[in-house]
Symmetry: D2
Subunit: 208 residues, 4 copies
Amino acid sequence: MKAKIKILAFNCSLKKSDPEKNSSTRRLLEECLVAFAEEGAAGEIVHVADYRVEPGVTNDEGSGDQWPELRQKVDSADILLIGTPIWLGQPSSLAKRVLERLDIFLEEKNEKGHMPSYGKVATLAVVGNEDGAHYCTAAVFQALNDLGFTIPPNGMTYWVGEVMGSVDYIHLSKTPKVVAQMTKSMARTSTHLARLLRSRPFPPLPPD
Amino acid sequence: MKAKIKILAFNCSLKKSDPEKNSSTRRLLEECLVAFAEEGAAGEIVHVADYRVEPGVTNDEGSGDQWPELRQKVDSADILLIGTPIWLGQPSSLAKRVLERLDIFLEEKNEKGHMPSYGKVATLAVVGNEDGAHYCTAAVFQALNDLGFTIPPNGMTYWVGEVMGSVDYIHLSKTPKVVAQMTKSMARTSTHLARLLRSRPFPPLPPD
Amino acid sequence: MKAKIKILAFNCSLKKSDPEKNSSTRRLLEECLVAFAEEGAAGEIVHVADYRVEPGVTNDEGSGDQWPELRQKVDSADILLIGTPIWLGQPSSLAKRVLERLDIFLEEKNEKGHMPSYGKVATLAVVGNEDGAHYCTAAVFQALNDLGFTIPPNGMTYWVGEVMGSVDYIHLSKTPKVVAQMTKSMARTSTHLARLLRSRPFPPLPPD
Amino acid sequence: MKAKIKILAFNCSLKKSDPEKNSSTRRLLEECLVAFAEEGAAGEIVHVADYRVEPGVTNDEGSGDQWPELRQKVDSADILLIGTPIWLGQPSSLAKRVLERLDIFLEEKNEKGHMPSYGKVATLAVVGNEDGAHYCTAAVFQALNDLGFTIPPNGMTYWVGEVMGSVDYIHLSKTPKVVAQMTKSMARTSTHLARLLRSRPFPPLPPD
């Protein structure tokens, strides 16, 4: 029997969630979770803007900081999925905020020299009207790899429209086949990798 | 007589300001203001983390959003100076937040087709323990250029230590000569450019 | 009477030029030259792949290196226009090659402390099937700004198709209005800036 | 008995190799191979500038193109190690050249929907006088991940000096402890991952 794999998806949209109205980033993340379910992986979408996530690089920045609750979710996930809209060709400030709050991993190595992220897999979903997905991929994967996550082949899915486009992903009547294919492939490779790393963890690193 | 040029420096440190304790980003920005003063340019440092700057891309995101006050300062400045610490090799989430709040410029073109930034000059000051300054430069200047700012030659100054360094800029007993030189050059080229653009503004753009 | 402004456009396509067949990057660069002509600026397109440009960071890498001929063209231009296709979301290796060959500017400061690029304006034209234009802008402008070029507002024009698109710019029956508009705006702001900087050059920099 | 893992290291220095004189990039790559040997992985360093690698995105660009020989080496490697110097804060044009030549992977999917890179692990070694390693990591890993490689935690090792530094890695009397540690960790995590992926390959992807 295959181990159940747990996903945590951070929706890094700049807007608070709205039960009346779906959004582009949420749509793509929901499609991801459907694809993950087919691989035997399940989890939740956390809408970051609904939480008070203070700037900083510690585990609790005080004064009502709600990051500690999110950090616990990160700790129990096998796969982290960052969902970000594109603003100015780049990931959102909330995506960067989440990455900064994980910076503490660099100081939380265990007796094997592993960060808390060792064995966890990082994936990415990017949505914009036009252009910027590759830049987002570069920025987010570089940060998550520095932070100890493993990145599966074609670890991201994305949608962008034509130059200066004004259509939103949420308004597409159906998901483009290429996007559906990327989403499924991402779910499949990352779940496979997460299972492998759970059954055969990274060996201890050389001592400092 | 030369026109007085106005600088606005955003300190995008993740921490709130502390009157008891200087910080690396603040030190470099203060050095910038001294260099600008020698060029006949003056202004203030705004510590972004001291303000409530909500996520979003409008001029006022409501619920106590203090961006409107900062936006006014942007409007009256000739030179915008973004000061950012490096986290994960990249600009801080607060630097990205400020850039996102300026995204509205794209929709605020006047009758000449100019964004509010036309004629304004963008500069950058980056501080980290080690590595990442060029990445920050790329990300910030790409965004600010998209948003209509003009970028002077060698428009940034920075300090970074050796790989995996643990020294902070604030702890250096004296400012390295190369950094002082970059800071002065940046102040000189950007002030010259701001004066030129004030006396000879960009012509109207072709109508849509 | 307005000074005649000289453009140098580097076509950094990976393919050699083909008189029988136009290409996407060439089409956009030709459109740029038409727009520049309307501003009173003229110049030529140099197809980099037709020249032997050796790897290296000196002015002449020997063994048939044809960079010296191109370097002369750079020296006599007021505006440098880098035209690059997008490969893997990033500028082409030939675009990077050209930038590397300009690295020597850092060591060629004159008695004013100016690199040969001081007073020259940098612009960019990017073409891809889908995504990557902002990443290219970030990479190319960061490098050119380090090298002493001045960057005008909205200094780039680009075309990209929808995610995983397979249409080429060369196959579009007509130029999208948004692209034509970006191209004209780029020509106008950069020519204005080049004229300003020619009539009122940057002052000497502080001595080392 | 553990499977023998094969490494291919591309030295993307801009200079041809010189038997009389070691270089910074080569030194770091040699240190990597020593670290890999301790993990039971072995291979060779290929000095890209010694080969004629034509611009293009096919497997053989003709007219003396020597890429086909290098492509064969890529095909038989389990781990690809890109070694690049930093120029202008970014990877070398030869590193980009190599990545472009691998672009063809996108069209070489087998009956499982896998690119030739599926199951291969990508790693990176970056050397510069000062700054740029994170930018290189972002650019190279984004490209290699698009191309189907898997990226291990902390998949890169690097050395950079202090801002505007002039010391070269090759001149350091001894390897800094932090660099040696990164190199060993990279060798360990990537070899572990390559073994896992060889014994338990990625499942077929969903058909187009």
